[in-house]
């Protein structure tokens, strides 16, 4: 019963944060809603025994990623409110709602219309046999580490390469070529 209560509270936080991101006019408020949503997802991870991922979720997403967003917002001074009351393209919102609703219907249809699992131990939805890497009783972090450094070592190394490329790419992209003047954010200009 505690599970249900925790799930409902976390789900409300997740969906409320998500709604905030898509509806709040000020990008800073949207970023703060995003933090709420990430925290809710972290709670749901803990509820599903994925303790390490919950920790990483808070540190990387709610910490690093959102701080990066806020830093860019503050740096560039783009924190003025966006006018969300008018539609720039006629019919954009109904079409977007129809597209998102279609995706939702497809996923829910796949979820609820798929048959039961097969007799050979295969699982509904995927049709594949379950548990390629079974979860055992040892610590979550220990299992995840062992899985990463044995069966997924190649992907892990590729990740290191990816992060290096991303770092170099970010430095190259934001380098101030030709010494052009930066647009300085006027303090207080966002308080209108």
């Amino acid at each position: 019963m505690v599970d249900v209560i925790v799930f409902v509270v976390a789900a409300v936080i997740v969906l409320g944060g998500g709604l905030g991101v898509i509806s709040l006019r000020n990008p800073v408020h949207a970023a703060l809603s995003l933090i709420a949503s990430f925290f809710g997802v972290a709670v749901l991870f803990i509820l599903q025994e994925a303790h390490l991922l919950a920790l990483v979720q808070v540190v990387v997403y709610a910490g690093a990623v959102v701080v990066l967003f806020l830093f860019v917002i503050m740096l560039l001074g783009v924190d003025q409110s966006e006018d969300v009351s008018t539609e720039p393209i006629v019919g954009q919102r109904p079409l977007a709602a129809a597209g998102a609703g279609l995706i939702l219907l497809l996923v829910l249809g796949g979820l609820f219309l798929s048959g039961p699992g097969g007799d050979d131990g295969s699982v509904a939805l995927t049709g594949q046999p379950a548990a390629v890497t079974p979860i055992d009783d040892s610590q979550n972090i220990e299992q995840l580490g062992r899985d990463l450094f044995t069966s997924n070592i190649l992907a892990f190394e590729a990740t290191a390469l990816l992060l290096t490329i991303a770092t170099v790419g970010a430095v190259v992209l934001v380098r101030n070529q030709g010494g052009e003047d930066l647009v300085v954010d006027d303090p207080g200009s966002s308080v209108r």
Binding site: L52, V56, V65, L68, A96, I103, T133, T159, L162, L163
Partner: protein, 101 residues
Amino acid sequence: MEVTATWYLVLSAVLFSLGTFGLLTRRNPLVMFMCVELMLNAVNLSFVAFSNALGDLAGQTAVFFVLVVAAAEVVVGLSIVVALLRRRPDATVDEFVEMRG
């Protein structure tokens, strides 16, 4: 009453649709990025739900990689946004016509 994997999957589907709708309607490139993050989080949630339901650790490993790729994507994406907005601080995505091929 017990929380089953279906609950998580439904929540994940709703969150993903929310992110899709936001991505299609918002015009501030930073907020569009946040919507992409929402969608990635929805997928992560369903990965962990499947991992828990099937007793298979591979789902959690996948989430780990999604996290890393998302972080790299944010770094590169935000530097593109910085490079674009530095020239026109109040531009929306509709006005970036110079990116037309």
